[in-house]
Symmetry: C2
Subunit: 360 residues, 2 copies
Amino acid sequence: MGETTRFGIMGCAGIARKVSRAIKLSPNATVVAIGSRSAEKAHRFIKENGLPENTQVHGSYESLLDDPDVDAVYMPLPTSLHLRWGVAAASKGKHILLEKPTALCVAELDQILQACEMNNVQFMDGTMWMHHPRTAKMHELLRHQHSDLFGQLKMVNSIASFYAKPDFLHDNIRVMPDLDALGALGDLGWYCIRFILWAADYYLPTTAVAFPNPVKNEAGLLLSCGASLHWENGTVASFHCSFLAHRTFEVAVVGSKGTLTLSDFVNPFDENSARFTFASESSFKELVDGWKPLPTNHVVSTELPQEACMISEFSRLVGAIKDGSKPEKKWPSISRKNQIVMDAVKDSIDKESKPVAIVG
Amino acid sequence: MGETTRFGIMGCAGIARKVSRAIKLSPNATVVAIGSRSAEKAHRFIKENGLPENTQVHGSYESLLDDPDVDAVYMPLPTSLHLRWGVAAASKGKHILLEKPTALCVAELDQILQACEMNNVQFMDGTMWMHHPRTAKMHELLRHQHSDLFGQLKMVNSIASFYAKPDFLHDNIRVMPDLDALGALGDLGWYCIRFILWAADYYLPTTAVAFPNPVKNEAGLLLSCGASLHWENGTVASFHCSFLAHRTFEVAVVGSKGTLTLSDFVNPFDENSARFTFASESSFKELVDGWKPLPTNHVVSTELPQEACMISEFSRLVGAIKDGSKPEKKWPSISRKNQIVMDAVKDSIDKESKPVAIVG
C-alpha cells in the first residue's frame, strides 16, 4: 500500500475543489474516488479539477465507503449529514477528514468520535489554518509557560466575516436550517472559537455569554452573532462572526507582556507567505512621542498552501496507523472542545444572552 | 491680545509634560502660568519642561483662575476634581481643555458644560487622537452615507491596555477610588468608547452589556473590564480595556463593504507618520489561494504631533471666540456622548452585566 493515503471525496461541494487541489499538491496523498449522488456531477468535478481519468466514480456515498481502494474520506457534506456519514465511514474503517462545523452539537460529534475510536481510524476536522507553519511560529512566541515574551494570556478578540451576496443568502446550504443549522456561527464562528482556544492552549473557558440581538434570517438561522468567553483567572475573549460584513479575518491576542495580531488568520492574503505582528514589552518613549520597541512584522513562508499542509499531516497520521500506530488523539480532542464552546454560545443565544457554563 | 491662546496649566501631572510641549509646538498657543499647590513643584515643572522663566506660578488653582493673562486652562486633575474646578474655571471665563475621563458621570459633566455655555467658553476634552490627520483621512474612507468603499457599519472592536507596574497599581491616582473612581474604564475604556462612537458617526448605541467578572483591586476599582454595545440596526461593538495587559491600542472597524484596522489608535507608533490599513470589497481569489484586492496600507504624515494638533484646534476656536464667534458645540457634544456610554457600561458592570439602555 505504500505511504500514500488514498482519498475518496464525498460530494462535489465548492470547498472540495480547493481540497482536491490540496490532495494533488500533497506528496503523500492522492484522490482515487469521488462519491456523488450525481455521476454526471462527479465526472465534471474530475475533469474540472484535473484529477486522473481513472478516478473512480461512485453514484452513492455507501458505494464510496465500500471501495477497498479508499483509505480515507474527505467529507464536505452539510453539517446535518455529518453524524450519519461520519459514523458510517468510521464503521467501514475509513479515516475521516471532516469539514467544520463537525456536527450540530457535541453529542452528535461524540458518536462520530466514538465510531472512529472503535474502528481505529484517524479523525481530523478541516480547520486549515491550524496547519500553516505561521501557526507553529506564532505558537512558539505565545507559549505561555515557557516564554517571557508574551507572558500570561489576558485577552483575545477574533472577527470572521464575509459579505454574502443575495443568492448566497437565498439558497446556499449554509443558510438552510435543515442542512447547516448553525449558520454563521458554524461556518465562521467555528474559526473564531478555534483561534481563541488555540491562544488559550486549549484550556476551556468556564462561561459563554452571547451578544444580544443576533441577526437571523426568516427561517431563524444565524447570519451574524458574537459572544464573550470567560476564564476563571480573568482572561476574556470575544468574537464576532457574520455573513453580513466585509471579508475580515482579524485577531488580536494580548498577554501580560506581548501582543500578537494578524488580519488573515483563516486564509492568508498570500498563499506562499503569511504575516503576523508581534510586540513584546512595548511601551511609550519618554515624552510619549512614539513607541519602543515597535511591533515586529514576521513573515512565514510555506512551500505548500495550508490546506495541503493539512492533507499532508492527516496522511502522515494515516500512514502511521497503517504502520501500527494508534490514531493521534490531539485532533479529535481539539475538535471536541471547539464544538463544546460553540454549543455553549448557541445555547446562550437561544437563552437570550444568559451566561452558559462550559462543561468539558 | 492677538491670536495666541494663553494657557494656564492646572497641576503638574505627568501628562502635563506632554501637553506643555504640545502648547510650545503649537503656533497659536503659549503657556503663561502654572497652578500648583506646591510652588516648588511648579518651578521645577517650568524648568524641566523648558518653559519661559517668566511663566507665572500660582500657589493655588483659585489664583490661576483669577489671572487675567490666562485665556484657557489645561486641566489634568484627577477626575473627582473635574466638577469643582471645571465649573470654577468656566465661571471665571476660562476656556477649558479637560483631561479624560471628563467627569465621574454625565450629571457632573452636564454641570461643567452648562457653566461653559453660560460663560461663553470653549470646552474640549483631551482625546488627542481625534486631532491626528490620520483620523480625518480614515473618516473620509468610512463616511457611510457618502462612500461606496466602506458601506454600512457592522462591527467595531477596540482594545486599549497597558501593563501597569506594581508601583502604579499601588499608588497611581488612576487606581484610587476617591480620585479616579472609573479606573481602567475611565482611563482606557474612554478611548475605546470614543473610537466606537467615532466609527458610528456618533450615533449612540441603544444598549450596553458589560462583560462578566471584571477585575477589580482591593478597593473595588476597575483594573480590567469590557463590554459590548448594540444598535437597533444590528451593528455591534465590543471593547476591552485593562491595566493588566501589554500595551495594545488595537481597533478593527468592519462595514458591509470595507474593513479598517490600526494598532496604535490612541498614540501612533511614530509621532510624525501614522498608518492604518483599509480594504474594500476584498474577497478570495478563484481557488481561495489568496485575497484580491489586498488591504492597502495608508501612511499619514503630520508636522505636528497629535497633541499639538489638538492644542492648535482648541486655540483656533478660542481665537474665534475672541473675534466674536460662539463656542464650537461639536466638542462638548462628543464628550457628552462618550460619558453617557461610559456611564451605561459602568452601570452594567455594577448590575452584574445586565443590559443597560443608553439614553442620549
